[in-house]
């Protein structure tokens, strides 16, 4: 083991199977190691080169398990290599080192004359990294959900040497008149999979489906972590001043009644399990996401008080052609989304008067990547031309993706056949019109419960609004583009279906 050997290369976390020590041992110069994996070995020294701006304590955290002698009978060479691989992968996830800059070099430590002879190999480990530039300015165009935007962005990386990041962003887009935010994010306890972030934001967004603009000013505190099996969790507290303003001349009475200020103070938990093979063009695997929000209740205060939860599940299955072993590129998929908003009394009370929801808290449904064949916000209650949203919704879709002839299964282009359906219902008291017994807006808790139950029952009252069509899907790494021809089959009067062509760009889709 006198020869120094290196196994360098990428340890980026986004690679599906980063080469582990055991894996790389099967080929390349490291195959010698295979026989020696069980050789007792321990770490004599560990050096990290190139991390000039990174705090010692952060590196200590990461490499602690490598140096620590945990196994009772001493460690083997295989164990040491595994631990080094684990530590470098962890280091890569901080996003402060260049992907291609990683190199790990092992050499046998020179034995001191006086030391007693032993069959244990003492290793000197040298790890080379290249830090990414600490200050990055960028500008460009971006595709978010249902909108395109231009942005300028400044990122300061590794500010205090502990992989802290400050990101300042300004953008303007097709719907966002202006948006500014600043986010400071730091790993906790030297763990790249546990991050705390503080964000301040201000934005003004057009909501053309309901004839108004919404201005947001606020901030949030987020704790995000990856669980052992790669599920992502985010727990956040946010406090946002929302101002519903800039109403168009034709704004409906519902929108006028909701214009003005409100503060939402809420706690949100988001869970995502993404097991899809390709997030923009899933051909196999599934996605599970839940969003649960509690606003205004208890200590949270603020002007709105509700519990809101949303569940999304989608999956795809590849379809093999009989008699062919090669990937056919054909797949079938399905998706389901459900959501409920439940108005709560403010303070710590569980029963008591609760305010019905406002337009900026209610769900909107429909659009070229949601329930296709409907305009954005095209489903659900409408006041005149305004989509005023609902408190309960269910939406589902089925689709088949077929590769185009001559382009082939490996291209990101697919022919899509789809049918999707949705139902968006608002909570209300269903009192006969002209009944002026209601004193003010607030509803008692029994009324709220009856209202929510009847809204949920209303979901299945009659066939859901439905559209079907055919189109092209192009999966760009940044966003998914769809051009569909669709026709609404069933809808409620007031709902805005879209006959003919519809273009969709976005990162999440049903």
């Amino acid at each position: 083991m006198a020869a120094a050997l290196g196994f360098g290369g990428s340890n980026a976390p986004d690679k599906p199977n980063p080469p582990s020590a055991a894996h790389s041992a099967h080929h390349g110069p490291a195959h010698v190691l295979d026989e020696h994996r069980l050789t007792p070995a321990s770490v004599s020294s560990l050096e990290v080169h190139g991390a000039t701006n990174t705090r010692r304590s952060l590196l200590d955290h990461v490499f602690q398990p490598v140096v620590e002698d945990l196994a009772p009978g001493g460690t083997t060479l295989g164990q040491v290599l595994d631990r080094v691989a684990l530590a470098t992968k962890k280091l890569a996830r901080f996003d402060i080192f260049k992907e291609e800059g990683f190199g790990v070099f092992l050499s046998e430590a020179p034995r001191t004359e006086s030391a007693p002879p032993t069959d244990r190999t003492e290793l000197d480990i040298s790890i080379r990294v290249k830090e990414k530039s600490r200050l990055v300015f960028s500008a460009g165009t971006d595709f978010g959900n249902a909108e395109g935007s231009a942005y300028t962005n400044a990122v300061a990386r590794n500010i205090f040497g502990g992989a802290e990041t400050l990101s300042v962003n300004a953008s303007t887009g097709t719907r966002t008149r202006s948006a500014y935010n600043a986010t400071f994010s730091t790993p906790i306890n030297g763990n790249p999979d546990l991050r705390l972030a503080v964000e301040a934001l201000r934005s003004e967004t057009q909501k053309p489906w309901a004839s108004h603009d919404e201005q947001l000013t606020g901030g949030n505190l987020r704790l995000a972590w990856l669980s052992e099996n790669d599920d992502s969790h985010t727990l956040s507290y946010s406090s946002v001043w929302r101002q519903l303003t800039g109403l168009s001349a034709t704004a409906s009475p519902t929108v006028r009644a909701d214009a003005g200020d409100s503060l939402k103070s809420s706690v949100t938990h988001t869970f995502t399990r993404d097991r899809r093979d390709n997030p923009m063009l899933p051909q196999s695997g599934y996605l599970l996401r839940t969003v649960s929000e509690l606003a205004g209740w208890g200590l949270l205060q603020g002007d709105v008080s509700f519990a809101k939860t949303e569940v999304e599940a989608s999956g795809a299955l590849p379809v093999a052609l009989p008699g062919r072993t090669a990937k056919s590129g054909i797949s079938v998929g399905a998706g389901l989304r459900l959501g409920v908003l439940y108005p709560l009394p403010s303070g710590f009370a569980l029963t008591g008067p609760a305010q019905p929801s406002r337009i900026n808290d209610r769900f909107q449904l429909g659009g070229p990547l949601g329930v296709r064949g409907f305009k954005l916000g095209g489903l659900g209650p409408h006041d005149g031309a305004d989509s005023v949203g609902g408190d309960v919704f269910a939406a589902g879709s089925v689709n088949a993706l077929l590769p185009l002839p001559r382009v082939g299964a490996d291209s990101p282009l697919r022919l899509q056949l789809f049918a999707n359906t949705g139902r968006l219902v608002a909570l209300n008291r269903k009192s006969p019109k002209g009944n002026e017994s209601r004193e003010g807006l607030a509803m008692g808790s029994a009324t709220v419960f009856r209202g929510v139950t009847s809204a949920i029952n209303e979901l299945t009252n009659g066939p859901p609004s439905l559209a079907a069509g055919v189109g092209l899907v192009y999966a760009h790494p940044v966003a998914r583009f769809e051009l569909n021809f669709s026709l609404p089959l069933v809808l409620r009067r007031g709902e805005e279906g879209r006959k003919g062509l519809q273009v969709g760009v976005g990162i999440s889709f049903l």
Binding site: G260, Q355, P356, P381, D383, A426, N428, L489, V503
Partner: protein, 319 residues
Amino acid sequence: MLVSPSCSVSWRFGIPRPLQQLFDYFPLRALDPNALPERSQCLTSSDLPTLYVFSTESDARLGLPSFNPGCLKWQTLLRLSSLPFRILPSTNHASPTGALPFLLPPRTTSTSTSSPPPVPASQLLAYAQQHSPSTKDNSNKIDLDPDLGPRAQAYLSLVTLSLRNAWLCALYLDPSHADLLARLYARPASSSRAVQAALLAQLRAAAAEQIVTSTGGMVVTTSAAAGGVDEESVYREAREAMEALAGMVGESGTGWVFGEARPGVFDAGLFSYTHLMMEFMGEGLGRMVSESGKGELARHRGRMLEAAWPGWDGKRPTE
């Protein structure tokens, strides 16, 4: 969504006939419309026209005077006309003109698909005259467009400049009314202290700017207090204006401005300031009103209250 409207228009016009025929078949089924949300049903389904003003929920339920002079003027005029209406508390964001008040006519049909456009303040009286149940009866008719002579114009500017500036100065810039300002304008908007503080700062800055621009910069001081407004000269002008107005009201034989037989637009405008000053600023501007012209303005206010809110004891419900 990136469906550009221009794109959809050109497609519409270019639709070939067979495709149009296909489109006409869809949707295959159109079901009953979705019901509107509770908040919307509760706030917008009244059979009466709704005047959106600055008010509190409890005041609005009783139809009590708005605490905003601009809103109170039109609310008073509507009450003097025989149009039945209700009021709802609202904010400037809701108004088609950017300022309250405005009126929403009742929905024409029971379905939620259409609603008549909002009526801005300037067209309120025309609306009232068209829709009053007693249009034939001219006794309640208010002169819509009182073609004010030069003398009347001069008196009007005393109300719209001097009294208004004094009201703005006292309510927004005088620290002794800070709590009143917060109670009237900030707390109804949001329960959050931070939002209230931000709104108050915006309101104060806007008020100071309005006073300075309306007087052409005549009342600016170098002191940083009161937003750079010379309060003393604002109040002095207000006192002079009140004396002049009181004299004019006193000369009128009928008790209404310019000797009219019934209260009109000018009376309502004057009342909107004198009433609010007396109700909310008893010690400062309120005393100034009651002292001017040996109580002439206070008596005018009393007559207006009696005409527009007969039977109201002047007390507001405590929230």
